[in-house]
């Protein structure tokens, strides 16, 4: 599997660290109820198919990526900079 880093191009997954679902970008408010924080930190949709994830280009440019990927086929559909995704959402 290779990821298409927007800064560096297609690179081997050995350069990246997987963090988990891109739900991590939607951080709850600090005073949100414990159930909301529990859901944010621990619970996962865990789809069998298309998913959005955060990957860290640790041994490359150091960017955080939002990767759209198929968990059933390992097909990489889209890779964006997490900062761009966050900016677009705001």
């Amino acid at each position: 599997m290779r990821l298409n880093c927007p800064n560096c191009g297609w690179r081997d997954i050995r350069e990246f660290t997987y963090i988990g679902s891109a739900d991590f970008l939607d951080r709850p408010e600090p005073d949100a109820p414990i159930e909301v924080w529990d859901d944010y930190i621990h619970n996962r949709t865990n789809p069998d198919g298309i998913t959005r994830e955060l990957w860290f280009h640790e041994q490359g440019c150091g960017a955080w990526l939002v990767v759209t990927r198929n968990t059933r086929t390992h097909e990489i559909i889209n890779c964006q900079l997490a900062s761009d995704v966050k900016e677009a959402a705001e």
Binding site: M1, D12, I13, R14, T17, Y18, I19, G20, S21, I34, E35, D38, D39, I41, H42, N43, R44, T45, N46, P47, D48, G49, T51, E53, T71, R72, T73, H74
Partner: protein, 357 residues
């Protein structure tokens, strides 16, 4: 018992078949101890030869720090009532002379040996349980996929399947890597992420590896099956996957670790490899609990350690479903431990995140 495919066709039919009770933390420790005792009586209970072979597991350590941790773990295992022995290098050399002891990078300092650990024939375990359950009156329905879980007023009333509806007052979800998909039918979102774990087997060889051996540097463990194949595996690929196959970096890592530990196996040819779908929890420990839906139970989160848990998981889950009370040995496998933070069982001490176990 509803099975989407055929009996023994899931993870139980494709694993590295290791049985052990060498866990450290309260919760896990008593459960795996309970499970190992059930393994020891399993052939009598089922009247089926599951080929349990208590050949001993050797867990190597390679530094002073690892030795301290191993001794601490060994003491904890003994306190639980199970067996653990500290092996010095001369003792180890007598048992397993073929390891690469004196290399500069990962010298071997000793090992913890659990003599009651070993392997079992995984297919026989599935068949033995199936026959035992059938004899005791359980209906085993194969090629029957659950497509929905019926819930009325917070109570479970039955399931929808590809072969029709079945009414039931109690439903238990015990589906390993596909837990999230089935639980979603009941509207639940669980602390589970499915990951890939690869394993490998070589062509059949004459007996050469008499124990289960695990490497303490990098992740590698190996045993020899009764057919002669070397069965070995390593770490997860470390990303979510339902593909049932992994990627080459992990293959390379496993092969490198194997060659570092025992160069003698380098000439063996790998016959096949496969990837299993693991239901990973944030702390790397399992869940056996009720859910917020009346009559719906869940047994999941076995991560990469489900095989040795088979008899214990079945026994504890059966008690929970039958009586509504958790079995003493599985009392700490609570679903709400992540929310409350009480009783977390992070054996590796790496943190409470899916990508860390």
């Amino acid at each position: 018992m509803l099975e989407k495919g055929y009996l023994g066709g899931g993870n139980v039919g494709r694993n590295t078949t290791i049985v052990r009770a060498n866990y450290f933390l309260p919760g896990n420790s008593e459960f795996y101890s309970h499970s190992l005792k059930l393994w020891e009586g399993l052939e009598q209970d089922l009247n089926y030869n599951v080929m349990l072979s208590q050949r001993g597991q050797i867990s190597l350590f390679h530094s002073d720090g690892q030795r301290d941790a191993a001794i601490r773990r060994g003491n904890s295992i003994i306190n639980q009532g199970d067996d653990a022995e500290l092996l010095s290098v001369p003792e180890l050399k007598k048992m397993v002379p073929y390891l690469d002891y004196d290399q500069a990078r990962f010298p071997i300092y000793g090992a913890i040996l659990q003599r009651r650990a070993g392997t079992a024939r995984h297919d026989a375990v599935a068949w033995g349980f199936a026959r035992g359950a059938s004899d005791r009156g359980v209906d085993l329905i194969q090629n029957c996929e659950v497509t929905g879980i019926d819930i009325e007023d917070g109570k479970v009333t039955g399931v929808q399947t590809t072969r029709g509806a079945i009414r039931a007052k109690k439903v238990a979800i015990i589906v390993a890597g596909r837990t999230s998909k089935v639980a979603a039918m009941a509207g639940m979102r669980l602390p589970i992420e499915s990951h890939i774990l690869q394993a490998f087997v070589t062509e059949g060889l004459k007996p050469c590896i008499d124990h289960v051996i695990s490497f303490g540097m990098g992740h590698f463990y190996i045993s020899q099956s009764d057919k002669g194949g070397l069965v070995f595996g390593g770490d997860l690929d470390f990303y979510a996957s339902y593909a049932a196959r992994g990627n080459l970096p992990t293959v390379e890592h496993v092969m490198e670790a194997g060659m570092t530990l025992m160069p003698a196996i380098g000439k063996a040819r790998v016959l096949r490899s496969w990837g299993g779908i693991m239901d990973m929890t944030p702390d790397g420990s399992p869940i056996i609990d009720k859910t917020h839906i009346d009559g719906l139970f869940i047994d999941c989160g076995w991560c990469y350690g489900g095989f040795k848990a088979v008899p214990g998981s079945g026994n504890c889950m059966a008690q929970l479903v039958a009586t509504g009370q958790p079995h003493e040995a599985a009392r700490k496998f609570r679903l709400d431990r992540f929310r409350t933070g009480r009783g977390l069982m992070d054996e590796e001490g790496t943190g409470m995140q899916h990508n860390l176990h």
